[in-house]
C-alpha cells in the first residue's frame, strides 16, 4: 500500500468520513461542469429538493457542443442551443460562475481551469468528463465522474470514493527533437496497455518529466485515463509555481508564499512507498501514431502495423477487429498511409505550445490537395495568444481553417465530424470506432506537429524529416 506519496497526502487532507461499505467520503476542492453531463444532475437536485452546497467551488463553461465556425446564438442546432440554455439557466439559478462564449475565458474545461489559475496543487478536482485527469499536471488529484456523482458534488461538495493504488512511472532522459509529450504518453499506453492502469493513480516522475513544461505535463496526465488510470499526476515544482503565479485565481502577496510552501510539502517524499514502479527511457521514443481502435494500439512512425504473430494471444481478437475496421494490413508501414482530414485541437493538444509546434511545420508549406485541415484552439485565451503571434495567419496561409474554441472533432458532438470511411490524423485522445462522428470513420492519433506533417504531405509522415532533424529516407530501387 502506498505511503507518503502526493496522492496519499492529498487524499488524507480531503477525507471527510468513512462510509458504510468501506468507501471514503472525499471533499472536492474544485468542481468543473459543462453542458453535456450536468443537466440531469441539476434536474435530480430539483427532484430531491436540494440546493448547491458550495456554488463558489463549482465553475462552468461550455465546450462539447459549441460550433467552431459561427458561435452566434441561437445555435443552428436546436439541441445544442437547448443544452447551453439549460446550463445558463442552472448556473444563474444556483449562483455558479459560467465562463460563457465571448467572455474571453470560455474554452475546453480542461484548458480554461489551468489557464485561469483555478487548478492548483493539492486540490481534489472532479468533473463529469474522463479527461479531468489533465489537472493532475499541477499535483492535484483529479478524476472524471458520472452524472449521479456530479449531483452528489453539487449537493454535498463531496464524493464516495475508493482509494487507488499508486504506480510511479519514472521517465528518465530527454525526448528527442520532434518527439513530444503526446508521443511519450502514447508510448506509455502502448507499453502498459489500456487496462494497465485500472485501479491505479499514475505518478509521473523522473528527469524527463521534471523538464516538461506545464502544457506538456497536461498532455501527459490528460491521457492517463486512456491507460486505464483514473488519475495521473506530477509533483508540483518550480515549473508549476511559475505557471500559476499571476493568473486570475492564483493566490497573491503573502498568501502566495504560504501557498508555495504548502504546495511544496505535498510532493511525494524521498521515502514514499509506491505499489508499483515502471521505468521508461525517453531518448528511445519515436513520434508515435495509433494504427488501431484503442489508444494502446500505437507504434513508432518508423514501424509497421504489428502482425498477429507479434501480438499477445489475448490481444489478437482486438487486433483482428482493428485491421478490419481500419483497413490496414499487418506488416504495412504506418508512414505513408493517406489521410483525408487533419484535426489540431482538443483538451489533449489544443494549447498554445501545441499550436506553435504545429505552425512550425505548417509555416511556408501547403495543405495537400483535397485534404481538409483545421485548427481549433482550446480556449478563447489560447486563440487570442495564438493570433497575437500570428499563428492563425501561418495556418490559413498554409490552407488550414482557423476555428473558434471548443472540443470539436475530438468527439464530434458539434458539426465537425468525419464523413463515411474518412481517415483522420488527429491530435485528440481517442481512436475508438465511430469516435469522430461517423460510425465507420477512422482516427490516427498523433502529436499536433505530426498532424501538421500529415496535412502538408497528405499522408502519415515523420515530422522529424520535415523539420530536417533526421535525413530523408531515400527509397532504394
Amino acid at each position: 500500500m502506498s505511503a507518503g506519496t502526493l496522492y496519499d497526502k492529498v487524499w488524507d487532507r480531503h477525507r471527510v468520513a468513512e462510509l458504510p461499505g468501506g468507501s471514503t467520503q472525499l471533499f472536492i476542492g474544485l468542481h468543473l461542469i459543462h453542458e453535456v453531463t450536468s443537466p440531469q444532475a441539476f434536474a435530480a437536485l430539483r427532484d430531491l429538493g436540494l440546493g448547491v452546497r458550495h456554488p463558489e467551488r463549482t465553475v462552468a463553461t461550455v465546450d462539447h457542443i459549441v460550433p467552431t465556425t459561427s458561435q452566434a446564438r441561437p445555435f443552428a442546432d436546436p439541441l445544442a442551443e437547448e443544452m447551453l440554455a439549460t446550463l445558463e439557466r442552472n448556473c444563474a439559478e444556483h449562483a455558479i460562475t459560467l465562463h460563457g462564449l465571448g467572455s474571453g475565458r470560455q474554452g475546453i474545461v480542461h484548458v480554461i481551469a489551468p489557464e485561469l489559475g483555478l487548478t492548483q496543487p493539492g486540490m481534489t478536482v472532479a468533473c463529469g468528463d474522463s479527461h479531468t485527469s489533465t489537472h493532475g499536471a499541477f499535483g492535484a488529484i483529479a478524476f472524471g465522474i458520472g452524472t449521479s456523482q456530479v449531483r452528489d458534488v453539487l449537493a454535498s461538495q463531496s464524493l464516495a470514493m475508493n482509494k487507488l493504488k499508486v504506480r510511479r512511472i519514472l521517465v528518465e532522459g530527454r525526448l528527442q527533437p520532434g518527439v513530444f509529450a503526446k508521443d511519450l504518453v502514447l508510448h506509455i499506453i502502448r507499453s502498459l496497455g489500456v487496462k494497465g492502469g485500472v485501479g491505479y493513480a499514475y505518478e509521473f516522475a523522473g528527469s524527463c518529466i521534471e523538464a516538461l513544461s506545464m502544457e506538456e505535463r497536461m498532455t501527459l496526465c490528460n491521457m492517463a485515463i486512456e491507460g486505464g488510470a483514473r488519475c495521473g499526476y506530477v509533483n508540483p515544482d518550480a515549473t508549476t509555481f511559475a505557471y500559476i503565479q499571476g493568473r486570475p485565481f492564483a493566490p497573491e502577496g503573502e498568501a502566495w508564499d504560504r501557498a508555495v510552501a504548502w504546495w511544496s510539502s505535498l510532493a511525494s517524499g524521498a521515502d514514499a512507498v509506491f505499489d508499483d514502479e515502471v521505468v521508461f527511457e525517453a531518448g528511445t521514443i519515436a513520434p508515435t501514431v495509433t494504427w488501431g481502435i484503442t489508444p494502446g494500439q500505437g507504434i513508432g512512425v518508423d514501424e509497421s502495423v504489428p502482425s498477429l504473430a507479434d501480438t499477445p494471444v489475448d490481444e489478437r481478437p482486438l487486433a483482428e477487429e482493428a485491421y478490419r475496421y481500419m483497413d490496414l494490413q499487418p506488416g504495412m508501414p504506418i508512414a505513408g498511409v493517406p489521410v483525408d482530414v487533419c484535426f489540431i485541437g482538443s483538451c489533449t493538444n489544443g494549447r498554445l505550445s501545441d499550436l506553435q509546434a504545429a505552425a512550425a511545420v505548417a509555416r511556408g508549406r501547403q495543405v495537400a490537395p483535397g485534404l481538409k485541415a483545421f485548427v481549433v484552439p482550446g480556449s478563447e485565451q489560447v486563440a487570442a495568444a495564438a493570433e497575437a503571434e500570428g499563428l492563425d495567419a501561418v495556418f490559413t496561409a498554409a490552407g488550414f481553417e482557423w476555428r473558434e474554441p471548443g472540443c470539436s472533432m475530438c468527439l464530434a458532438m458539434n458539426p465537425d465530424r468525419l464523413e463515411g470511411r474518412q481517415i483522420s490524423a488527429s491530435s485528440s485522445n481517442r481512436n475508438f470506432k465511430g469516435r469522430q462522428g461517423s460510425a465507420s470513420g477512422r482516427t490516427l492519433l498523433m502529436s499536433p506537429a505530426m498532424v501538421a506533417a500529415a496535412a502538408v504531405t497528405g499522408r502519415v509522415s515523420d515530422v522529424r524529416e520535415l523539420l530536417a532533424l533526421v535525413p530523408l529516407q531515400v527509397p532504394v530501387g
Binding site: S23, F27, R53, F432
Partner: protein, 208 residues
C-alpha cells in the same frame, strides 16, 4: 420487441437478487462511445437513451447484434469480457443499458468510472475469471431464453444447470444489499464533518 413488454422498474432500495435472461456482448475494451455514441448525448434528460444503446454496432450488424435479436428482448443480465466501459465518463452509457432493460452486468473486468456509474444507478457489476466467463457466455448463447438467478450475497449465478461462482467486493455488496448505493443521503448526513474538512484546507482559507 422490448417495447411490447411491460416496463421493468428501475432499481430502487435494497437489491438482493436479479432474475432474468442474459444477453452476451463479446469483446475486450468495449468503450462507452460504442455503448452510446456521442450524438445521443445531445439531450438534457436520460429518457429515450435505450434506442442509443450500441447504436452504431447495431447498425453495422443490421439486426444481428445481440441487442436486436428477438430472443434477447427483455434480457436483464449483460455478459461481457475485459475492461468493459472504458473511455468517456458518460453516465449515459449505463443509463442506456438500464433503460434497455439491463439490471446487472457480469464480466471479466470493468473500467473504473463506468463501474462507479453503474453502482450509483443500482446496477451490480460482478466479475468472473476468463475461463468461467467464456463458459458462461457459451452456455448463454446455447440457451438464450433460459432464465438465470443472480444472488448478490453469495455472488453466484444459478442457471444452465449449474452454479457459477462470481466475485463482488464487500463494499459494493453492502451498498447494494442495504440500498445505500445511492450515496447522496449519506454524504449529506456528514454536514459537520464536511465543514470541518473545509475549514482545515489551506487553499480554502487563504493558505493559513
Amino acid at each position: 420487441m422490448s417495447s411490447s413488454l411491460p416496463p421493468r422498474p428501475f432499481p430502487a432500495g435494497p437489491i438482493a437478487s436479479i432474475t432474468g435472461t442474459a444477453v452476451v456482448v463479446r469483446g475486450d475494451d468495449i468503450d462507452t462511445d460504442r455503448i452510446i455514441p456521442a450524438r445521443f448525448l445531445k439531450c438534457v434528460s436520460f429518457e429515450g437513451l435505450a434506442e442509443g444503446a450500441f447504436a452504431d454496432d447495431r447498425t453495422e450488424l443490421a439486426g444481428a447484434h445481440p441487442f436486436d435479436r428477438a430472443e434477447h428482448q427483455g434480457a436483464s443480465l449483460l455478459l461481457v469480457n475485459r475492461n468493459f466501459g472504458c473511455g468517456s465518463s458518460r453516465e449515459h452509457a449505463p443509463q442506456a443499458l438500464m433503460r434497455w432493460g439491463i439490471r446487472a452486468l457480469v464480466g471479466e473486468s470493468f473500467a473504473e468510472i463506468f463501474y462507479g456509474n453503474c453502482l450509483a444507478l443500482g446496477l451490480p457489476c460482478l466479475t468472473a475469471g476468463h475461463d468461467t466467463m467464456r463458459a458462461l457466455q457459451e452456455a448463454a448463447l446455447a440457451a438464450p431464453t433460459e432464465p438465470l438467478s443472480l444472488t448478490l450475497a453469495e455472488a453466484s449465478l444459478e442457471g444452465y444447470g449449474q452454479r457459477w461462482p462470481l466475485e463482488l467486493p464487500a463494499g459494493p455488496l453492502q451498498m447494494l444489499t442495504t440500498g445505500q448505493w445511492d450515496a447522496t443521503g449519506q454524504l449529506l448526513s456528514h454536514h459537520a464533518e464536511l465543514s470541518r474538512t473545509l475549514a482545515a484546507l489551506p487553499y480554502a482559507n487563504g493558505f493559513h
